[in-house]
């Protein structure tokens, strides 16, 4: 039985670790490369509210397509919540009602390794910008 304290074992462990890390990067790189042709389309990228701070509403249709079938999730990355997951799919469609007073980011993320394959932002804009006057006591000029 090999002793852990053996002077030979430490370099071997380091080499093995480096090989594993390299292999992992290769898999991720390969995953990303495989999905370079990813399509991540939103029916709308802008939501306009009347007033700053109001919740903005918009019916959004998302369609996505990747090169190879795999398990992916549509994630609201602003709040880190999953909207929908697909198993062994190369494409999908999802419809939802966007409701937010602020812009939000969405990603298509692999389930196995949490790799973001695509990213999209829904920008919230408004007509009337409002800023609040500082609270004050009675004043006259």
């Amino acid at each position: 039985m090999m002793q852990l304290s053996s002077p030979v074992i430490i370099p071997r462990l380091i080499v093995t670790a480096m090989l594993l890390i390299t292999a992992t990067f290769r898999v991720d790189a390969s995953e990303a490369k495989q999905n370079q042709a990813t399509v991540f389309k939103f029916s709308s990228s802008r939501c306009v509210a009347l007033r700053q701070g109001q919740t903005c509403y918009s019916d959004i249709k998302i369609s996505w397509r990747i090169a190879n079938k795999q398990d992916v999730c549509l994630v609201d990355s602003t709040q880190e919540t999953r909207l929908k997951c697909w198993s062994g799919q190369a494409s999908g469609i999802f419809e939802f009602e966007f409701q937010s007073p602020e812009s939000r980011d969405y990603v298509l993320r692999t389930q196995r390794r949490n790799v973001d394959l695509a990213h999209h932002r829904i920008q919230v804009a408004w007509v009337y910008k409002a800023s609040k006057r500082t609270k004050s006591s009675w004043r006259l000029f």
């Binding site: 939501c47 306009v48 509210a49 009347l50 007033r51 109001q54 919740t55 903005c56 509403y57 918009s58 804009a125 408004w126 007509v127 009337y128 910008k129 409002a130 800023s131 609040k132 006057r133 500082t134 609270k135 004050s136 006591s137 009675w138 004043r139 006259l140 000029f141």
Partner: protein, 280 residues
């Protein structure tokens, strides 16, 4: 001067009581805060918008028997602030330019001193009214208090005419509410407005001399109240384009329509309007 105070306070108290008792019939059209869905006291907004509106309705009329009307017109709405000073206008409802100074604001109330010129060319001197003397515009100065209670807004205003040609004052109280359905912003408001006899006599009264010139009967009206209601919706088509639709109802006081100046003497008026505005 002081002897007038109790009767004046009486007018205000009566106005408020009538206002509270008349939620279904009251309103006022100087409520930019309600129309633009402003939901907090002391909000500073800087914008200007140019729009075009179409309006149709029925109203008491000065110059003709028919009470129905329709027209298209351009308008300017806006709100500009420099520190505590501001100028605002909701021209879409024919409100005048209002210059003001924010005296106080806390979590619930905003109180402003306001100054504006109103009633310019209120009585056109044409046709049968050609012989009337010129009615000058009113230069009104006073205060306005706006209270925010959740989605509800209440507003009280008291303005005194400070021009030297005649004297008078007006007061209004209104309550309004905003609610949002998706990106549609609805508002509703109801209010009551009081005009003192000084204002009314100046605009709707007919002196003996004018009676001789025009052939109209001499007329000396007193003070009165009017009530208005308004329902509207605003939708942002883009960051710079806004659609509005508004329905309004109002009463006309007999003190006004009994004046020989009025040809059609309806006691109520209604209007519907739609508009598109470019906002900057």
């Amino acid at each position: 001067m002081y002897s007038r105070l109790p009767s004046f306070l009486g007018y205000i108290a009566t106005s408020l009581i009538l206002f509270i008792a008349s939620f279904s019939v009251g309103a006022e059209d100087i409520a930019r805060a309600i129309r633009t869905n402003s939901q907090a006291p002391g909000m500073v907004e800087n914008y200007i918008e140019f729009g075009r509106k179409y309006q149709t309705g029925v109203k008491a009329s000065l110059g003709r028997i028919r009470d129905d009307y329709e027209f298209e017109d351009n308008f300017i709405n806006g709100s500009l602030h420099w520190g505590d000073w501001f100028v605002e206008r909701f021209g879409e409802s024919n409100d005048p330019y209002l210059f003001g100074y924010a005296v106080h604001n806390d979590e619930t109330w905003s109180i402003d001193l306001i100054f504006g010129v109103k009633y310019e060319d209120l009585i056109p001197r044409q046709g049968r009214l050609e012989g009337l003397g010129h009615r000058n515009s009113a230069t009104l100065f006073g205060g306005r208090a706006t209270g925010f209670f959740g989605d509800n807004i209440v507003q009280f205003s008291l303005r005194q005419d400070i021009s030297e040609k005649w004297s008078g004052h007006e007061a209004f109280a209104l309550v309004g509410r905003n609610w949002q359905v998706k990106n549609w912003n609805f508002h509703g408001m109801a209010g009551v407005k009081y005009f003192s006899s000084g204002i009314i006599e100046y605009y709707y009264g007919i002196s003996e001399e004018e009676s001789r010139r025009t052939g109209l009967d001499a007329y000396k009206p007193g003070s009165f109240f009017t009530y208005t209601v308004e329902l509207g919706v605003t939708y942002p088509l883009s960051e710079h384009l806004v659609f509005r639709a508004t329905a309004k109802g109002r009463t006309y006081a007999d003190e006004a329509t009994d004046s020989p100046i009025f040809v059609n003497k309806r006691s109520t008026g209604y209007s519907m309007s739609t508009s598109l505005s470019l906002v900057f």
